[in-house]
Amino acid sequence: MSDDNTDRGINIFKPQAGLMRGEVRVIVLVMSAWLLAVVGSQLAIWFLEDSLSGFWLTELFFFNLPIHFWLTGQFLPLWFILLGVVFNLWMDRHESRRMDGTIRLRTTGRRKEEQQP
């Protein structure tokens, strides 16, 4: 992926120093936690279904629900919300830290008139 713009262009795999590098790091962390939870939970359930002819999924109850219903239907959406909160808290702090050092004019985005092409 080499080209003339690489040294100043945007590439998620080659984040530039400053705000973007930290941001990409937290994005990678959150996305990993997201992917691992989705795929991992389903692999685990698939494994439970196969072992002991499905004994665990008929007998193992958690919060009144069979373990696979609880894990997928209740826990995963909650996990997503938690990931969102963690990401937002981190981003808020990250941006404030940066704002302390520099005068920033564009934090609230550009004005409406300027948005039209």
């Binding site: 992926m1 945007i10 959150v30 997201w34 698939w46 279904e49 959406p77 997503f80 919300i81 941006e95």
Partner: protein
């Protein structure tokens, strides 16, 4: 589920609720309706979250999901995860940057970022296709409810429902009704959870939090009727489940009317926190939806039909039939129907207006009449709204599948086209117009490859099923975009500089 007479009390409640929304919208002093029809006020992050959630809710969430649980059990969990997990993709990868980008619609974004009128037109056409497919799913929901309310046949209900939706949009538009999305979300969540509390209480389960209480029904089905939900991947493989789940996630992060939400948040932080609140409010509905499917199975079993293979035609109304079988008061049934109608109506009107705007502002002035004035465009938007409604009406006559499945096709198309265009557009400045055009067109081809080539090549149907094509499709499209971009001219330094300074906030000014 067929009735032959008009359901008077539920009908009155439906009418009263729409009157409440219209009158409430009239009284509202906040008028922020933009040219594109995305109205709504944001005074707090929580409020904007409720607006995101009510903008998201449709017949697929209120009716379709429970229907699929009833019919296919654990498979439907892929929808719960896809439609909540997708918001993490949106939040982490797109929300902040889209807000900084400052473009109002998906075609606008594509046209500006890739500096290509052709790419903008293709994005507009794809937006219209997505709107139409999603609308067909909503129309099915509207038709099923109208058919039950008035005691008329499905086909007659499709026509009646369309007439009602069009009348509703025209009345709201003429009176200048502002959509109060927070009120709507509140009504919707009450309409969805209250019947569930009644049902679980009547069954003697833990009714305070019916999202957990319904588990007892699963236990009862196991112990009393020998009906098990314990083989999640027995009939539908793990691959199919994951393919559907990731398709819905990519689609969530690529649906034009969902992406449009972020352009309007007052600040970047508000945009981000709005997403998380929105996710919470959406999860409140999805934590509850499986309960309807499970309870309907229990009522079947009690009627001696534990192992009946349900008819897909009636399964979509299982939310309603569970409430009726469980004997909840008629006004609660009315509330539930009203909630479903409101979700479908607002989804339809939003999607059709979105599609009409894409035509009137992105296609018409560029391809048909370059001299069109603003009032010409407005007339075109109104005209095309009716054309779209008629098109969806024709497509809805013959039931094509379940609500959630039809909706999934729209998500797959969005995930294969708009999502990669935004993702690379934001995160890789080397992507150019040729790349995005090749990508979006191959995305359309992949989305419909199963019906097009599935007959000749069975492998295509396995890898890119119609409802789940974006799992492998979206990465493939990203690859196409990268390869085509690299072998063609890089984008102008102006766009690269805009991305670096304005969107990602790096580099020298």
């Amino acid at each position: 589920m067929m009735t032959t007479s008009v359901q008077l009390i539920p009908l009155l409640i439906v009418a009263a609720m729409f009157a409440l929304f219209i009158l409430g919208g009239l009284g509202s002093k906040i008028r922020q309706a933009s040219d594109y029809g995305f109205a709504g006020s944001y005074s707090s992050r929580m409020g904007s979250g409720a607006a995101i959630a009510s903008n998201w809710m449709s017949a697929a969430s209120i009716l379709g999901l429970a229907g699929l649980f009833y019919l296919k059990g654990y498979y439907a969990m892929a929808f719960v995860i896809g439609w909540t997990g997708g918001y993490i993709l949106l939040l982490v990868l797109l929300a902040t940057q889209i807000r900084r980008f400052g473009k109002f619609t998906a075609p606008d974004f594509v046209g500006f970022r890739y500096e290509s009128e052709a790419a903008r037109t293709v994005a507009a056409l794809i937006s219209i296709m997505i709107s139409m497919i999603y609308c067909v799913a909503q129309f099915r929901g509207v038709a099923l409810l109208v058919s039950w309310l008035f005691g008329i046949s499905y086909q007659a209900a499709v026509i009646t429902g369309t007439a009602l939706v069009v009348t509703f949009v025209v009345i709201s538009g003429t009176l200048g009704v502002v959509r109060n999305q927070r009120l709507q979300y509140f009504v919707l969540i009450v309409a969805f959870i209250l019947p569930l509390m009644f049902l679980t209480k009547k069954l003697g389960y833990f009714w305070v939090v019916p999202q957990f209480g319904y588990g007892q029904a699963i236990i009862d089905l196991q112990t009393q009727f020998g009906f098990f939900w314990s083989e999640p991947f027995a009939s539908i493989s793990l691959f199919k489940w994951l393919a559907l789940c990731f398709t819905l996630m990519f689609g969530t992060a690529g649906l034009p009317h969902v992406l449009s939400r972020f352009y309007m948040a007052p600040s970047i932080r508000d945009a981000r926190w709005g997403v998380v609140w929105g996710l919470f409010f959406i999860a409140l509905i999805y934590w509850s939806a499986p309960a309807y499917g499970v309870l309907a199975r229990l009522y079947d079993a009690r009627a001696g039909l534990a192992f009946r293979q349900p008819d897909p035609m009636t399964a979509d109304l299982v939310t309603l039939s569970a409430a009726l079988q469980g004997g909840v008061p008629v006004w609660v049934v009315g509330l539930l129907v009203a909630g479903g109608m409101a979700a479908a109506f607002y989804a339809v009107s939003g999607l059709l207006q979105n599609g009409a705007a894409a035509f009137a502002y992105d296609i018409y002035p560029r391809l048909f009449r370059p001299t069109a004035t603003d009032s010409d465009k407005l007339v075109m938007a109104k005209g095309f709204f009716l054309v779209l409604a008629a098109g969806v009406l024709l497509l809805s006559f013959k039931p094509m599948g379940m609500i959630a499945e039809i909706a999934a096709v729209a998500f797959a198309l969005a995930g294969n086209t708009i999502f990669p265009a935004f993702l690379l557009g934001i995160w890789w400045s080397r992507t150019n117009a040729a790349g995005v055009l090749a990508g979006m067109l191959s995305g359309v081809l992949i989305s419909f490859s199963a019906p097009l080539f599935g007959g000749m090549l069975p492998l295509v149907e396995t890898l890119f099923p119609l409802t789940s094509s974006a799992f492998l499709g979206a990465p493939l499209v990203v690859l196409v975009m990268i390869v085509v971009s690299l072998v063609t001219r890089p984008p102008s330094s102006k766009v690269v500089a805009f991305l670096a300074h304005d969107v990602h906030d790096v580099g020298e000014r």
